[in-house]
């Protein structure tokens, strides 16, 4: 996996005593005044608010760097999905970028290059230029 992206949720303090959080999966407790703090992670506050984060739900998302929002032009699956050969996506079947800047699942483009009709030289399935892997 080449790029990791973790969603950040924004926390806004609108007025002392009221805390709004943009992500429902936070479980928070706010206290004002002199109540004893609950166990958990204390957040610093310049107001009288005391914020304790008791539970945090984090979602991760990964993307191939070369792929953009596209699907593989050969198997028609999203780049982040498994190709027609794989059960699961991942480093066994990364994206391969051609000098023409078109990307495909490794298994998909390898199968196309190996096809008997493509000897000695295969062309890019999308633009028909001679297929050559771009230097990383």
């Amino acid at each position: 996996m080449e790029q990791m992206q973790v969603d950040e949720s924004v926390m806004k303090v609108e007025e002392p005593g009221h805390v709004t959080i943009s992500n429902d999966s936070y479980e928070m407790e706010t206290t004002t005044g002199t109540q004893p703090p609950h166990p958990g992670v204390h957040l610093e506050s310049k107001t009288r608010l005391q914020i304790v984060v008791k539970k945090l739900h984090v979602c991760g998302e990964w993307k191939w760097l070369q792929g953009g929002e596209d699907t593989c032009g050969i198997c028609r699956m999203e780049f982040e999905s498994a190709c027609n050969i794989c059960k699961f996506p991942g480093d066994d079947c990364p994206l391969v970028l051609g000098t023409c800047r078109h990307a495909f699942h490794r298994h998909c483009i390898e199968k196309w290059i190996a096809a008997p009709t493509n000897q000695p030289k295969a062309q890019c399935p999308l633009c028909r230029q001679d297929w050559q892997v771009a230097e990383p």
Partner: protein, 173 residues
């Protein structure tokens, strides 16, 4: 027998049914998911207007690394389609690319009906006639459409294939 059907074929089949191309229907055979029953309506601007042409399309084991095999079942007078229904179209031969799909292949065949190319013939006798006397060739093509492709039209309507046709045109022809 072949292993399970690739997801790509499943996706293509579903999309052909859910979002059909105007004037084209393609339905997978009940017993063979790689065999499709295809109907193409003759384009309005062509001598094949008013006719519906039956084709068979087969996805070989190597698909999408190899082109689908497509053949006209309905008799047609066209310089690039021979007596056996074989089609002379580059993308079905050496210009195949796995980025093409059933939908784009059928669109290309529909376009071939609008633009016969006698310079690259498969049916040489038809191509000769097309080059020598185009008006006469177009007349023959229209006659063949009436004689052979209208029957399929009735059958298509009977079986309620999802062809998108202008109803007035059906009554007229």
């Amino acid at each position: 027998m072949a292993s399970s059907l690739p997801r790509r074929i499943l996706k293509e089949t579903q999309r052909l049914a859910a979002d059909p191309v105007p004037g084209i229907s393609a339905n997978a055979d009940e017993s063979n998911a790689r065999y499709f029953h295809v109907m193409i309506a003759g384009p309005e601007d062509s001598p094949f207007a008013g006719g519906v042409f039956k084709l068979e399309l087969f996805l070989p084991e190597e698909y999408p690394m190899a082109a689908p095999k497509v053949r006209f079942m309905t008799k047609i007078y066209h310089p690039n389609i021979d007596k056996l229904g074989r089609i002379c179209l580059d993308i079905l031969k050496d210009k195949w690319s796995p980025a093409l799909q059933i939908r784009t292949v059928l669109l290309s065949i529909q376009a071939l009906l609008s633009a016969p190319n006698p310079e690259d013939p498969l049916a040489t006798d038809v191509a000769e006639q097309w080059k020598a006397n185009e008006a006469e060739a177009i007349k023959t093509a229209k006659q063949w459409t009436l004689a052979y492709a209208r029957k399929s039209l009735k059958k298509a309507l009977l079986h309620q294939h999802c062809l998108v046709l202008a109803p007035t045109k059906i009554i007229e022809t």
